[in-house]
């Protein structure tokens, strides 16, 4: 017995979430979240710490019961068909969940037993996965002696041992060095190609969100925007022009009045979006009356998208959340 037969056919969503909410006493961690994930998609939840990403993952993986709303994974209800959901998914948590006193192989074998994977299949799959994450030479080594990156790779291998339909990754590269992060992403892309796996991940790294087919930007428990990375950036209205002038407020006013563009002043700089920055700039510089000190143009980043959708930078809200946790006396 391995993963239960999928109830999802054709291109119907493999994850269906409808007005999912979760409250912890007064605090609403996730409120009325709805989205779909298509089979084979690499879907990302982007948001600061405490935005409700882990809470959502915990509900989708049956570890937490929703306060209201419904969710289906692989066609199974996460509350009424927990067991089928569990067998349909692989999970890599933020914190390591390996038995450090056992070897890499023993950890994988335990997982195989727990999911009732057929012995011959298990051994074959173990070899295949350990090779993929480049740990085959350390298979009998004690996990205690592994580095953070090796542990994460082993966990990814373990999460795939029972041939899940969806792999959930909660901040898969948190606390890893850039080189290891890069390698983890290589594995994830390879996996998608080789196995047609659906991947759902959460991250607060903007550069990682760029890897995703689609991103849901989540803030304070709500989805603020959902689209492809390019689609999200496109919605901002094109390239970002940033300039500094002797009088920023007056310059912003001039841009608004002359061009009808919603220019804003923030951190001593004026910024606004135009469809084609490079073409726009020469004429603009010639015509502007306010004396400028500097001007530049760049493509919008997800950072800009996040700022536009939530009204703050991802870093600011992390501080908020930290304060919130302190006020609540800490949560486990």
């Amino acid at each position: 017995m391995t993963a239960p037969a999928s109830r999802v056919t054709g291109n119907a969503p493999i994850i269906e979430v409808d007005r999912l909410s979760r409250r912890f006493k007064q605090f609403e961690a996730v409120s009325e979240v709805s989205f779909d994930v298509r089979p084979g998609e690499l879907f990302g939840f982007l948001g600061p710490n405490g935005a409700g990403k882990t809470t959502t993952i915990n509900m989708l993986t049956t570890l937490l019961t929703p306060s209201s709303g419904t969710a289906r994974v692989n066609g199974y209800d996460v509350v009424r068909e927990r067991s089928e959901v569990r067998r349909s998914i692989g999970l890599v948590f933020q914190q390591p969940t390996l038995d450090e006193y056992l070897s890499a192989e023993q950890n994988l074998r335990f997982h195989g037993y727990a999911y009732g994977v057929d012995a011959a299949l298990r051994e074959r799959r173990m070899t295949e996965l350990l090779e993929m994450v480049e740990l085959d030479d350390r298979r009998s080594g004690s996990v205690r002696t592994f580095s953070g990156g090796m542990k994460r790779r082993l966990e990814i291998a373990r999460g795939l041992l029972h041939h899940p339909s969806v792999l959930f990754l909660d901040e898969p590269t948190l606390g890893l060095d850039p080189q290891t992060r890069h390698r983890i992403w290589d594995y994830l892309h390879a996996l998608r190609e080789q196995e047609g796996l659906t991947i759902f991940l959460t991250t607060h790294y903007m550069d990682e969100a760029e890897h995703c087919d689609r991103i849901a930007v989540i803030d304070h428990g709500r989805i603020a925007g959902l689209d492809t990375p390019d689609g999200l950036k496109h919605r901002l209205g094109g390239d970002l022009v940033i300039l500094q002038a002797d009088d920023n407020a007056a310059t912003a006013r001039e841009v608004r009045e002359t061009y009808g563009l919603p220019a804003t002043v923030q951190d001593g700089r004026v910024s606004f979006h135009v469809p084609y920055g490079e073409e726009f700039l020469p004429g603009f510089v010639r015509r502007i009356e306010a004396p400028l000190t500097s001007i530049g143009v760049r493509r919008p980043t997800l950072e800009d998208v996040f700022l536009d959708l939530t009204g703050h930078e991802i870093r600011d809200s992390e501080l908020d959340e930290h304060d919130l946790l302190l006020q609540q006396g800490g949560r486990r």
Partner: protein, 279 residues
């Protein structure tokens, strides 16, 4: 009639039972695996009773004469020390859920398609397995201190250890549900393990203690385990001086085993309840 019609329907109940069963053996298997890999734990749990045997046994046997015809002090405390190693092992196995939670492995277990009650039973079964191996290892000392071993005695010891271990693992699991981190663990072990050992009649016959202490001893489940093992090794059955009297009758091995079994079932049921509610 088609084949699929005659095959037993694997309904929801059947699937749930399979998950409980798989949870039990998978978790028990891991406990045994860890025991094999962690040599220090094995040495630690064996050394403590040995130390007691040397310090108390050799030290006191000179001043304390035979406690009954043919039973000197070292022989008297030997079965109790086996019970003591069962206590440490089983209680630790139960409380180890706290470690699993802290180091994350519990999540791996919780998200797997395993029955919750199976996870609890697995801890108890694993504890019993480890306790039996340790108990049998301690029997190696028996010939050196003049305790004669028969095949029957060795075989009789195993079920007593199993039942005692399961009951104590249940107790450990209940204690674990009160602990949020390892911090309280040391204190808890101090206030549980040592009183339990000293009140269990490991070092003195219960019958010779003052009445108030006897009451405390008879509430202690370990008392019956110690006495059952003592009856098996030393053949002290029916002896009012060395045995345990409950409601005016000296307890037999059968009664003691039944009592521990009943208590174990209750403790495990509470542990299952506490675990399913909490996790």
């Amino acid at each position: 009639m088609s084949v699929s019609m005659t095959a037993p329907p694997r309904g929801r109940m059947g699937a749930a039972a399979a998950e409980v069963w798989r949870g039990t053996w998978v978790v028990a298997y891991r406990e045994l695996l860890r025991f094999v890999r962690e040599r220090s734990r094995l040495v630690g749990t064996l050394l403590q009773p040995l130390l007691f045997l040397v310090v108390f046994g050799v030290g006191f046997s000179g001043i304390i004469g035979p406690l009954a015809p043919g039973v000197d002090f070292v022989q008297f405390i030997f079965p109790g020390l086996i019970a003591m190693s069962v206590l440490t092992t089983a209680l630790f196995a139960g409380v180890s859920v706290v470690w699993d939670r802290e180091f994350g492995f519990l999540k791996e277990i919780m998200v797997a398609p395993l029955g919750r009650s199976g996870i609890v039973l697995g801890k108890a079964v694993g504890a019993a397995g480890v306790a039996v191996v340790q108990g049998l290892l301690m029997l190696v000392i028996a010939p050196f201190i003049g305790v004669s071993l028969s095949v029957g005695a060795v075989l009789a010891v195993i079920p007593v250890i199993v039942i005692l271990a399961v009951a104590l693992a249940g107790l450990g699991l209940i204690l674990a549900s009160f602990l949020r981190s390892q911090q309280g663990f040391q204190l808890l072990m101090q206030i549980i393990i040592f009183p339990m050992i000293f009140l269990a009649g490991v070092f003195f016959p219960i019958g010779s203690a003052p009445a108030w202490l006897q009451v405390a001893s008879k509430i202690n489940p370990l008392t019956y385990g110690v006495d059952a093992l003592r009856q098996i090794f030393l053949g002290t059955g029916g002896s009012a001086e060395l045995g345990v009297e409950l409601f005016g009758r000296v307890m037999t091995i059968g009664q003691e085993v039944a009592l521990m079994g009943g208590l174990g079932a209750v403790l495990l049921a509470i542990a299952v309840g506490a675990f399913t509610r909490q996790e």
